[in-house]
Symmetry: C2
Subunit: 362 residues, 2 copies
């Protein structure tokens, strides 16, 4: 019985999401290196393995250790390498095939002075997001990093990596496609420039919106989507998924009702959902969408309902007239999260709709 906020997981939907992407990459003859930061769970990771995944992406060395413990032995830490963690890096590089991400020759030199085992190195490219990475047209810096990589046999250049995170700002499939196309064009120009010197170099791109929507990945060698394992309200608004592809929902106790303003108060706040919000198609800022209860799982979205406000432990849900009388204190209300990655990260575990607990990295 659910008595406190819980993150429900529909295994069937989740496995279907994993399978769909696996089949898409097979059709495209591209390598899938899914990002595991969304689910952070050994068990869910095994569902990927069953669909043929052998290489993965994570966002921290701690996460790399967690998945290495479960037998993953080809892991990319897709985060500008934090040289302060050199001891952990050496430990990991001894045990698995470890790939690092760099964006400066200084960091490469530090690694070469301190590495004890060989690693693969990707260079981070800023293909338009302007968050981090070397600007796609800054050939001088690419040359500098590439020269420095050659100074040691412990650092092998693997390829160019980018993350088109600005696809999250898209609000339609067309917008996502145009972000993807621009980013890919830039990456290809980079590849063509350096291919004569580095015939084995690969291009690695990845973000769930473009990987979900696009169907042609020719010219790309590796993709690294992560969120598609669960999807969420943001992805459905961008157009990367339909609501029935969303594999997780929060289950929260109702603690008070304020029918005169069409609101109910739930036990479930920013310490459970995280504080990610999105402006929905009606121009309202929302933190989640309410779905119908359906046994241990959930059904369709209740049109016009949304998670309106989040305090630390409370949430305020808006419900239209036809739904407001369906909830009383002691009931459980189910809500699709705006951003499944950060919600999962806070909840630290799943409850499947069959009533099974699934652990995450703590």
């Amino acid at each position: 019985m659910i008595t406190v906020p819980a993150l429900l997981l529909n295994e069937q939907i989740c496995r279907r999401n994993i399978r769909n992407m696996a089949e898409k990459v097979k059709r495209n003859n591209v390598t899938l290196r899914p990002h595991f930061k969304t689910h952070q769970s050994h068990e869910t990771g095994r569902w990927f393995r069953e669909e043929g995944t052998q290489k993965i992406t994570v966002s921290s060395f701690r996460m790399a250790q967690y998945f290495a413990e479960d037998g993953w032995n080809d892991i990319l830490v897709a985060f500008p390498v934090n040289i302060l963690e050199i001891d952990t890096i050496n430990q990991l590089a001894k045990e698995i095939k470890l790939s690092l991400l760099v964006e400066s020759a200084d960091v490469v030199r530090f690694l070469q002075e301190h590495l004890e085992s060989a690693v693969d190195v990707y260079i981070k490219v800023d293909a338009g997001l302007h968050r981090t990475g070397v600007s796609w047209d800054d050939h001088k810096t690419f040359n500098e990093i590439l020269r420095s990589l050659e100074n040691s046999s412990l650092t092998s250049f693997r390829g160019f990596l980018t993350h088109s995170g600005h696809s999250y700002r898209a609000r339609s499939m067309n917008e996502s496609a145009s972000v993807h196309n621009e980013s890919i064009t830039r990456m290809i120009s980079l590849k063509n420039k350096f291919l004569p010197e580095y015939p084995d170099l690969i291009i690695s791109v990845g973000d769930t919106p473009t990987c979900s929507i696009m169907d042609d990945f020719s010219m790309v060698d590796e993709i690294r989507p992560g969120n598609y394992v669960f999807y969420d309200v943001t992805q459905s608004i961008i157009g990367s998924c339909t609501p029935d592809q969303i594999a997780v929902a929060m289950a929260c106790p109702v603690v008070a009702t304020h029918k005169e303003r069409n609101e109910i108060v739930i036990y479930g706040g920013s310490v459970h959902f995280a504080k990610d919000s999105i402006v929905d198609t009606n121009g309202i800022t929302i933190y989640g969408k309410v779905v119908r209860n359906s046994g241990n799982g959930w059904g369709e979205i209740i049109e016009g309902s949304y998670l309106k406000k989040l305090s630390q432990e409370h949430g305020i849900v808006y419900l239209p007239d036809e739904a407001i009388n369906d909830y009383s204190p002691g009931d459980i209300i189910k809500i699709l999260p705006v951003h499944s990655c950060t919600t999962a990260n806070l909840m630290k575990g799943y409850l499947t709709v069959d009533g099974r607990k699934i652990n995450m990295m703590l």
Copy 2:
């Protein structure tokens, strides 16, 4: 040595904050029932005990259990009671003096049918925030709840409680004061109305901005501030504290620099800081302010610097020209959080500036 994001705690500043509030309540002859959701730590809780605190507030039954384990035996769970947790409530009520918060007669009736030990009951009043609680002028509902409370000796009416959370929207001491005054006036009118029938009823108010700024608490019986144990950037912008009263700072590894746009990339994202932001006095949305390094601790704010953007694991820090050259990959940058409660909740522990680890509730 710090190698991954850490939450630094300056014990001296923290103890001074605790002491200042303790002295203020003594001068005012009001009961202090501090909210422990900010620090969530046995050890920090003991610093309050050393200053005379005996009663505390928490936001969940789990947190009540955690502090009961460390000897606290008068705990208010200041959250509309979640009746699904009745087993935990009964367990707690057997061991300690437990106070619950209600806002409907239905919930009172449920409690009376299922309680096994006596509890104190506060009624939640909406004195203007419109988040939760019975509207301060809705005497009909107050009467209904009060009548229902009399049906059992297990539920003793203690008083009226409100949380003026809208004081957080204030941007000056004057604005905070006006929120406080309005809220207090309404609570007093409520008290006066029901005092003839309930001569022992108390008024409990609380939020750090008003409790920090106000100096006259006559007419109020109990205050429940919490955040003041650490304060944060939000409180300093509201005017509840000065920057040198902020007792926590994040320490984050620098992983990349982009001097051409005055930005550095840090290992430290929304999974460390949480995603709370505030519009600072220059109209810029910020997620934290950078402070100078000073040994194991930190010094003054670097004027014009701020945490600009947060992804899941990355942060982007803006630094003015005079500071941008001070940071390279492998350095540690220190940042005052916008909201210390949610940052602490994610970090799950502290590192004191003397190098000691302090555990939190897990």
